[in-house]
């Protein structure tokens, strides 16, 4: 039964996937690492012999490049403001939908989830007009409420908040679904016991709901952060990184350096800086989860 026919079957089953992943994923990762230590540019594109090893020059250049720091700052801004905001909105929506008093739950869940499945590029195009200073819906609505108009995408101070608002709108439904699953896993007996002991809804929320949701919240925060690290299409479509580089992101800078100016060595170094940051976040997650597991 463990003869050569099984071995052959194993080869047939595993071969295509492992081959594809090795050649089109692992090999490029290693090649990118090597590339990040070379001066690979448009000339090397024609003949690879023009590429030379330059050691850590790309990385050093990167850390001396004001554009890199600008892009890093913007990306962290997106992450630090947009991440918690988006998790909070998701939790709020999940709590509302979890309430026993609510009717038409499937309908609301469907509506809240709609932006998640939509194409980011199309949504960015739509929101560019929603944010239009004169003809945009948002300023019209705010005008009706007595606020003065804002040049959302044209003002360096407002462009990033504008992208964050759009991202929260687009993404909150995803984490909401995971939060709802987390809420459903909290045993009802906990709340019953708390009620008998005289705990009100607010106390129950802080003493039962939030602690019980902690693992879910951690997981959601991490995947949200990893996703937000990679934001690209929003600035590409809506602002091209402007005004005054106020929405330039790491991946947008990487794309421009690599595929517009063909500074591929430099761009590869950028990619690895991105990878390093994502790795740090992931390691923290694993550590915290392990600690939690030890405590239990």
């Amino acid at each position: 039964m463990f003869g050569s026919s099984r071995a052959r079957a194993l080869l047939i089953f595993l071969g295509p996937a492992l081959l594809a992943i090795s050649v089109f994923f692992f090999l490029p990762v290693l090649a990118a690492l090597v590339m990040s230590f070379t001066d690979f540019d448009i000339y090397s594109l024609g003949d690879i012999r023009y590429a030379r090893f330059v050691g850590f020059r790309n990385y050093l250049q990167l850390f001396n490049d004001p554009l890199f720091w600008k892009a890093l700052g913007n990306t962290l801004y997106f992450l630090v403001v947009g991440g918690p905001l988006s998790v909070a909105v998701s939790l709020g929506a999940a709590l509302l939908l979890h309430s026993r008093l609510v009717r038409f739950k499937p309908m609301f869940r469907f509506i809240y989830f709609m932006p998640v499945v939509t194409t980011l590029v199309a949504i960015a195009v739509v929101w560019r007009y929603v944010y239009h200073p004169r003809f945009g819906l948002l300023n019209a609505a705010m005008g009706a409420l007595g606020f003065s108009p804002i040049d959302w995408l044209g003002d360096p101070d407002w462009a990033m908040p504008a992208l964050i608002i759009m991202a929260v709108w687009k993404n909150f439904g995803y984490n909401m679904i995971i939060f709802i699953a987390g809420l459903q896993n909290i045993p009802a007996s906990l709340y019953e016991a708390a009620s008998i002991d005289g705990a009100g809804p607010v106390q129950q929320f802080f003493k039962i709901t939030l602690p019980m949701l902690a693992p879910t919240t951690l997981f959601i925060s991490i995947i949200t952060m990893i996703g937000y690290f990679q934001f690209f299409a929003e600035p590409y479509v809506m602002t091209l990184g402007g005004p005054m580089n106020s929405t330039l992101s790491i991946v947008l800078l990487m794309y421009q350096q690599g595929f517009r100016w063909w500074n591929m060595g430099y761009s590869a170094a950028l990619a690895f800086v991105l990878f390093a940051m994502i790795l740090v976040v992931s390691v923290i997650q694993t550590r915290v989860q392990k600690q939690k597991g030890d405590l239990l």
Partner: protein
Amino acid sequence: MKTLRQSALMVLLVVIAVTTLLPLVWMVMASFMPSGDASSVPPPFFPRTVTLEQYIGLFTRLHLGRSLFNSVLLSVAVTLISLVVNSMAGYAFAKYRFRGRAPLFKLLIASMVIPAQVTMLPLFLLLNKMGLINTYFGVIIPGMASIFGIFLIRQFAMTIPDSLLEAARMDGASDLRIYWSVILPLCKPILVTLAIFTFMGTWNDFLWPLIVMTDDAMYTLPVALANLAGEHVQDTELMMAGSVMTVLPVLVVFAAVQKYYLAGIMAGSVKE
């Protein structure tokens, strides 16, 4: 008291629902407006006259039908191919014992932390060498296998009892036969979920097709739309029609299969 709280909750839910829907509904409304109508003060929400001129313009002048075709073709092709490749590998990891299985699987899982952007520059050079830039294969080949897909299938296939496979083997079924007639039918729920994920992921993908497709005729809808958005900044109504065309297919698919889609998010969120 209870009805008061209930009404307050419902009001809140409706407010969020309206906020969520408003940009999407306005997109549809504006796509039916004649050129220039959306750019007035105050901005109109409903079209004064309903016209299909934007959609006609997209298909005739701007050849967006070609991009629609590319998007459909690529999304379907990537979905079908990756489904076969990933399900075979996932099944092998779940039910075959071989040397190095555990470390190999661990390596794959660990490498999920590597963002796709890292691979893009060398992948571009590699596909360029292979002559696959600006071809359908340039999008299909990197999408052929996914570690996440293998992981999903493996988790599901592990719940299939070994006795079932042994029984099939006793009856003289070959390995391929067991995969095709026993494993695949039993894995149907996770296959459907994975199919939806892959289809939508490919449809919505932007950065990679933007890099690989260098010619208008090969653009997918998101790439074509982003390209148009740069050239036709003033044509609000036209851009809204293009957005509707890009978004509508995924929304329809989602509406039809949301149960599986949401189940997939849960399955992905409980990993390890």
